[in-house]
Symmetry: C2
Subunit: 311 residues, 2 copies
């Protein structure tokens, strides 16, 4: 397991993991199996690997792939557990596509097949072995089944869908919808309104996925990565919490990030902005009234009451 | 508007409604429009009506239809707002089908077309004009559009689906799934687990609907009557509340109904039993592990931990 090297309590994090078998910084309180070895050198970590599991903050992925490139085996396949998608001037970019394009050297020589995993998967609940589900999206059935074999467990149930983009779009856009849920909580409109906004959000997630990835499937939104993760995020979740506070305290986003998230960044606000800019460029704002309203409340001072009026 | 006559504070409820324009017993605190007139005689109430809106507890529907029968106009159509379905020895029975079969006299002379309305629609939130959605299921497009015209409003948005059974099965079965959500809450398993059980419940609702009504549509479960009402019921809702208390207090259902619901009956427990008996008769218990587990925890003393192990 490659680990970004940092010093924690005067000791290297990889050494702590390899001696104490615990990641005391990012998952304190849970013992890791002893056969998990932390390796600080990414080239060494990936050498000879036949399955790569990507689970890093998404802004680091391009640079890491560049470093790994020379050491990737030709028989290798990968799975991304990274939540979120990226955007450039031409529209949304899947993390799996970024990984594929960074690693393919040239495409004829190595075309790494990629799966994506996403679901209602809060990390410490999983570590505590509380029951949950997840969804793996695959391109080839064989890869999907291999990944299921690796991840599936009585307490961590894997559902398979032939829909790599659908799984990833769900993981990213649910954070935008959670901002709307937080705005709604601040208005104290009750259960009818909140579940209506979540449902409308789910439909817009689906519409967005279909618009940019034509092979996306309706059923994916009924999987853990869709409706279940949306529910988890709109009831718990930091995006919901900060969005509620954004209305009730009137503090700006960066202050809320510092006060409520210990300086960590919100994904929902960034994605809301990217989605808005992409839709604007594509003259498609009208097809996504709920996500557009969320953006406008978050960044353009639109009164929060519009959350129910502009859809 | 037909109103079952009862005496409230020494005065007839119909008189109270017609003079004070408020249903002080069932919706206190909200003024009704003055053109709503309460009529205690059902034959008088339905005479000449071209649209009948059925909204009574479902156990009274047969008897009421028998009384109305003679006064029904040939140009009449109806919509049922009754949540729940009925069961007999041969399986589930839709309320709309009960109404149709009770009113058709004989079928060649009068075949009343029926729609069904259901959604995340807690009554006092609607009365307070808080935004919500609802779903109307229709058989004929024309009837659906007429009903939408009658019910739709900026704060009460109507979605139309050509799926009368789907809408009604959702309204009934979500109460069973809410029992499971309450059991899960009692276990304090966290968000991942609860949303996983809700999702699995949604899939079983869909499977049940498809099994007994072949023309049910997948999309109906993405409407307000499906996913949104399920969320509302699994987070608020009396079935959830009593199910949690059933585990934490170990009191029997009838005591919880008295203590927590003022003697009102739980719909989820009755439906869980009916669903179980129907599936057992049809040798289909294995296709519905979650609903079967809920029944067994509720009525056969199965340990609540099985809620995540038996699916």
């Amino acid at each position: 397991m490659w680990v970004y090297e940092e010093v924690v309590n005067g000791q290297k994090l990889t050494e702590i993991i390899n001696t104490q078998h615990e990641n005391i910084k990012y998952l304190p309180g849970y013992k890791l199996p002893e056969n998990i070895v932390a390796v600080p050198d990414i080239v060494e970590a990936v050498k000879g690997a036949t399955v790569l599991v990507f689970v890093v903050p998404h802004q680091f992925i391009r640079n890491l792939c560049k470093q790994m490139k020379s050491a990737i085996s030709k028989r290798c396949r990968g799975i991304s557990l990274i939540k979120g998608i990226d955007f450039n001037e031409s529209g949304p970019l899947l993390i799996t596509d970024i990984i594929k394009s960074e690693l393919n050297i040239p495409i004829s020589e190595l075309n790494i097949p990629m799966c994506a995993l996403s679901g209602a998967n809060i990390a410490n609940e999983i570590a505590a072995e509380k029951f949950c589900e997840t969804t793996i999206g695959y391109e080839n059935q064989e890869d999907g089944e291999l990944m299921k074999e690796l991840f599936h467990d009585d307490m961590f149930r894997v559902g398979l869908v032939k829909d790599v983009p659908g799984v990833q779009v769900c993981g990213a856009l649910k954070n935008v919808i959670a901002l709307g849920a937080g705005f709604c909580d601040a208005l104290e409109m009750g259960n009818n309104t909140k579940s209506a906004l979540m449902r409308i959000g789910l439909i817009e997630m689906q519409r967005f996925a279909k618009k940019y990835y034509s092979n996306v499937k309706l059923e994916t939104f009924m999987e853990s990565c869709g409706v279940a993760d949306l529910i988890t995020t709109c009831y718990g979740g930091r995006n919901r919490k900060c969005a509620e506070a954004f209305i009730t305290t009137k503090k700006p986003w960066h202050v809320l990030e510092e006060e409520l998230l210990n300086g960590q960044k919100l994904q929902g606000t960034t994605t809301a902005k990217d989605v808005y800019l992409t839709l604007k460029k594509d003259n498609a704002l009208e097809e996504f009234p709920h996500m557009v309203t969320i953006y406008r409340i978050a960044f353009e001072g639109l009164p929060v009451e519009r959350i129910v009026l502009d859809i």
